[in-house]
Amino acid sequence: MKILVALKRVADPDNANKVKIPASGDKVETAGLEWKLNPFDDYALEAALRLTENGKNPKARVGEVVVVTLGPKECETQLRSALATGADRAIRVEATDEALDGRLVAHALRAIVAEEKPDLVVMGKQAVDGDNNQVGQALAELLDWPMATFAATIEEEAAGSVLVGREVDGGVCTLRLKPPAVITVDLRIVAPASVYSKHTDKAHKYADGVRFAALPAIMAAKKKPLAVKTLAEVTGGATPTASYAKFELPPARKAGIKVKDVAELVQRLATEAKVL
């Protein structure tokens, strides 16, 4: 199986309170921010690796995982890290965040898909910076491929189809997709028994979470191929249609109050908050 994983770097969500907005309100100040891979993309990569291996021998890829990002040169740090974790090749499309919107990213990915011809595109359900939750769906639409969003489990079947479990209100909705297809993943995709390739024994349990890049693999990642493309090469003339009007920080939260005991809490919930 060949899988394309789309990755995006985001300002470290643990330091979200360091985000600054200049008085002009026309952008988010990115200088001095620490960058990390969008956590859902980390999960997407883990899912793709699990789908292209026998879980007992995770160092040998069965198939290929190609990672792609749109961003400035510094994003190669995140790509190298993905290569160290197990991806085979990387592609970076030169771009700045301001020059992109979800639609344009989906167009760019479509061009990359046309070239790479993966069986699956696996991506995070959303990026935690803008929380737009658009690109996966838009890409499936542009490709006219089947799609499963918010995947919590993926199982490759012997016949080549994939079963995707999606957690929905009141239960699990299971879809059977015939590749090529687009899958966006939710956080439970990295649980120990969430993803099985057809090579992995169903009794196998993965370590919970995303695998660690082994130190020798970090060194070897330097030698893995990383191709760079221009934005024009992959967008076919499409331009962003969304433009940002204004940025504002959320208002500072007012301090809460302390109640002296449970009785007072209940009384206030009933009379002030009127929720009881």
Partner: protein
């Protein structure tokens, strides 16, 4: 206002390559996800988590500083960064890795025959064989030249007798690198021997009741007319320089490692001082408290710079002078111990609970102060180098 982190204050990252940061971040994530939450409990239980050994091996940290034989071949700076992250978790975890890599594997790598390297190193890197390093004896600590363990040649074998004391990993080791005087020789006759568990007359009783490095197993090595094959000797080094050469490697790593302990104490303590309210305000808003925190931060940043400076030299020249390593070990261990004690005080009563990392690191660092050459011994090494006069 959000507090500035130590890393942001020192901007140490600007001196690190992408690979170096990736190596650090991978080990950092491992330690925080797989070890940190259990650190207090393991300390309390006096237990090294052997179940983590395959994961440590998979990550590539065992013998990471060595080249070839299935080892990761990390640079001195990368190796230092790894140990720092490990000791952020616990000194016991770091000790396990230091002894396996810098002492046991290094001895075989540097002084062993090709057959010995092939036989042991790949499996040691994979964590299938655990090693330990037996130099210290009940009556021979800072003065290892006074050791009384002897090796006697008898036909096709060597017969070892003596007792080693305070040996990290010995209770769980599959093999021990043991240093002994050969026949009736003096310190110049000292050689290393690889003793495999199972050899008759080889025992490793565990030392109980340690109040420091409790998550690291420490034991004796009792050699009672222990017979090993002629091929067990490490052929390529004679004299006290053998074990001391290994210690120089391990000490360099320790000078990085201890800063991990200091950072763990500092970070958790700043957090505590910002939220602990006395006299109506957070204690961190008091000048006395800020002075304490500032002293700690300055010393930690200086320690980082010291370690990095000498790490770069080690990478460039392939080695450091032993005096330079003494300087790093002595200074950074003292810094870390001072920081841990100061953090313990800032935490007040909570500072004596295992729930907070300070007292655990503080207690661990008491061992680190003593092992790998005591603080005083490193003072003597430097004193001798600087004056040309031996004060041992």
């Amino acid at each position: 206002m959000e507090p500035l982190s130590l890393d942001a204050l020192s901007e140490i990252d600007t001196h690190l390559s992408d690979e170096e940061r990736m190596v650090r971040d991978s080990v950092r994530r491992f330690v925080r996800e797989r070890y940190a939450a259990r650190a207090g409990e393991l300390f309390e239980e006096e237990r090294f988590p052997v179940e983590l050994i395959p994961e440590l091996a998979e990550l590539g940290v065992l013998g990471a500083g060595l080249k070839g034989y299935g080892c990761a071949g990390m640079s001195a700076v990368e190796y230092g960064l790894i140990l720092q992250e490990l000791e952020y978790g616990d000194g016991g975890l770091r000790s396990f890795v230091s002894v396996q890599g810098s002492l046991a594997m290094y001895a075989i790598h540097a002084y062993g025959s090709e057959e010995q390297k092939q036989k042991y190193l790949p499996e040691m890197a994979q964590g299938k064989l655990i090693g330990c390093f037996g130099l210290t004896e009940p009556d021979s600590g800072s003065d290892p030249g006074s050791m009384t363990t002897r090796a006697r040649r008898d036909g096709d074998s060597w017969v070892l007798s003596g007792t080693k004391m305070w040996i990290t990993n010995s209770p769980l080791a599959h093999l021990a690198v043991v240093w002994a005087k050969v026949d009736d020789g003096g310190p110049e006759s000292i050689q290393g021997f690889i003793v495999e568990r199972g050899a008759r007359g080889f025992e490793t009783p565990k030392i109980h009741g340690k109040m420091s490095l409790r998550a690291s197993e420490t034991g004796e090595i009792v050699l009672d007319e222990c017979r090993v094959p002629a091929s067990a000797i490490l052929p390529n080094k004679r004299g006290l320089g053998g074990p001391l050469g290994c210690l120089t490697q391990a000490r360099f790593g320790i000078s990085w490692g201890v800063l991990g302990a200091a950072k763990a104490c500092f970070e958790s303590t700043v957090e505590y001082a910002r939220t602990r309210v006395q006299f109506g305000v957070p204690i961190a808003s008091k000048q006395l408290m800020q002075e304490r925190l500032v002293e700690m931060a300055v010393e930690i940043v200086k320690g980082d710079l010291l370690a990095l400076h000498f790490g770069r030299i080690k990478d460039r020249h392939g080695r450091l002078r032993p005096e330079q390593v003494s300087l790093c070990k002595r200074e950074n261990v003292r810094t870390a111990l001072d920081v841990a004690r100061s953090c313990r005080a800032v935490l007040g009563g909570n500072g004596i609970l295992l729930e907070y990392p300070a007292i655990r690191h503080m207690l661990n660092l008491e061992s680190v102060y003593t092992y790998e050459g005591t603080h005083e011994v490193h003072t003597l090494v430097l004193g001798k180098a600087l004056t040309g006069l031996d004060a041992f």
